[in-house]
Assembly symmetry: C4
Homo-oligomer: 211 residues x 4
């Protein structure tokens, strides 16, 4: 087997890792839509008022679906960005990726809980899941760069990217501590994840510009 | 990193965007089949008449499944057509695509509601969802062309395609207004979406003919 | 745009058609596993006897899952075989493919019904679904060959493949007629679909042998 | 049709086999997350204590999800490894692959049973499913090597890989026998599957090193 074909085999195997990951992301991102349905016994040809009341009951489920879609969508976008630069893999990277997918697949549950409840337990569950996903995501990147599995060579560029990736997990860890005092404040803090994600994106090593 | 490999990385990342999108489309299109099942407690070896009555009860679910399949199938076909011409992407296009997938993943719910109810609320829910999906779909195309992310260069061709893509959303927006007067008429208007889709397809920039 | 890139765009779009189809097949083939679960209220640490009794109740669901897996697996294998020879597509082929996926996504339902019931209605539902899937599958092939969307040139080879593909649908159509007299006989006739599939496979145009 | 294009057609068809397999793996691996949800009637704005009690009830479901994720993840990793070396396929290999996917799709069920019960029946169900998946996985590899569908040429290398692959199934078969005496011991034995998987990985034919 020549070096060329070994390279091709790695390339193809990496594509399978991504195809499998995309499959899990696609399932996780649509999962909460299953919560949005009228009860089977709901009478046919209901009046406007009855249907409007029923839809109002489903509102927390709809909010949960939209939030979950954008949160998991952002993790997917980060995964897409990382694997633009990752050109090889080993068993540890596969394991970290599996761990990330495990948490991402679980995210719809804490999102659904938080859409309906505001207390210390719900805040810990959601904050903890988000922090865990962010930390594993950052660990994957750090591992891949250190093991030379990426095409990024400059240490400074890598460090900046890593700092960006740790902003959101740090925010969520702090928010868990706040939840013991005031869960409402915790939920308000989470809105900071949006500028944190924006900043992380800006600090990311950019792909080389195409001519 | 040479220009060549940067081009390849973009190409591969774009393929992941499509693979992820196809995954969400595939899940959304099969989702309503979950509504079609016999209740677990349904007696084994039921008589012909009992089974026929049960199947008759499931008829609105089956109609919902078929309608949803063709509607989402048409959005998928439009997505396929658009991305034959889109050769690059940026964060905004990704966000618009995510928004489209969010609405497409939600479509089975209004379809199931409309299969069982005919009133102002159900008409607004379905008409609004369809208009939103169509508008986001058109916005994606307009954005991609303006930002030079496609291989379409001629402005006139682009304009024609855009007009076609706005026919169906305009129809659905008008139908919502009609729903306040007469929801039955709204549902009848939706059949016009079929010729509108056909016309949109004809106005679309055609892929270059293969020799 | 050169002929070369037009060819590449067609090739990539065709790959998306297949990726989307594979997604729907993968969902349809695993759908019946959702029927196999212990009721939530089932007591923890149940005795051997209680658990064995519960599993026995789930037996028709398990049989349904296995049958559905091999039936949909066979339709997938036929799809794989067809698209080894199909090198281009048009809107009609996309529509036929969508129709095939619609029926394949529906197949778990009649399979689950037949796993629990044996009467005229269940026999018509299952036999009719299988016949419809087989006929659409054959229509796709006939259309693709006639429109020159395949790399098969010899008419005789095409004809043999088509006869093979029509064996199973013909069997299911005959079985529906028999169901009005004796549904038990109908179910026994379905076993003939296994040799019919084997024969269809032998009559199929073989891919050219690799050296 | 030249040999070159026949080779390309095989390559593309093999990619579809993998895409379809990855789809089934992705669905199976996320399936148990569906068991983790709050009951719909669960009151909004529940107290901390009520929510904590509810989450505690869901703990076996969460354990089941995590175990299932890593077990199916390991089967997926083995599949990835095997198909790095498999360069062609025939109908028998497709059938074995389908059989493997059938068992993998079923694995969430015995995992959920074992997460809640410890008795002879649950031990047989889980041990039997795991042994079956391992044996089919090993059979796929043995068949592919014997039929020359891989790029592995050395018999010794193949034999070592096969011994590794049979360690875990042998362990599970022995554990079933033990279950008739003491199901608790059976469950403890299953932890040995982790070092067995590690050993199997070491004995696997390594992909050629890239320069």
């Amino acid at each position: 087997v020549s070096a060329e074909s070994a390279h091709t085999a790695t390339h193809r195997a990496l594509e399978r890792v991504l195809a499998f990951s995309d499959g899990v992301f696609a399932i996780a991102i649509t999962l909460l839509v299953l919560d949005i349905h009228l009860p089977g016994e709901f009478e046919r040809e209901a009046s406007d008022a009855a249907l409007r009341a029923k839809l109002a009951e489903l509102l927390p489920s709809m909010v949960g679906y939209v939030v979950s879609f954008f949160v998991i969508g952002e993790f997917w976008r980060a995964h897409l960005g990382k694997f633009r630069r990752i050109v090889a893999y080993d068993d540890t990277l596969l394991m970290l990726n599996l761990l990330l997918l495990l948490i991402v697949g679980f995210l719809p549950f804490p999102t659904a809980v938080v859409a309906r409840h505001t207390n210390t337990v719900s805040a810990m569950l959601y904050g903890g899941s988000m922090a865990a996903a962010g930390l594993v995501s950052a660990a994957m990147w750090a591992y891949a760069v250190r093991r030379g599995l990426t095409d990024v060579r400059e240490t400074r560029e890598m460090m900046r990217g890593l700092i960006g990736r740790l902003l959101a997990p740090a925010l969520f860890l702090v928010s868990i501590a706040v939840a013991f005092v005031n869960p409402q404040t915790t939920e308000r803090m989470w809105w900071l994840a949006i500028p944190a994600a924006w900043l992380a994106r800006r600090l990311e090593p950019r792909p080389p510009v195409e001519p």
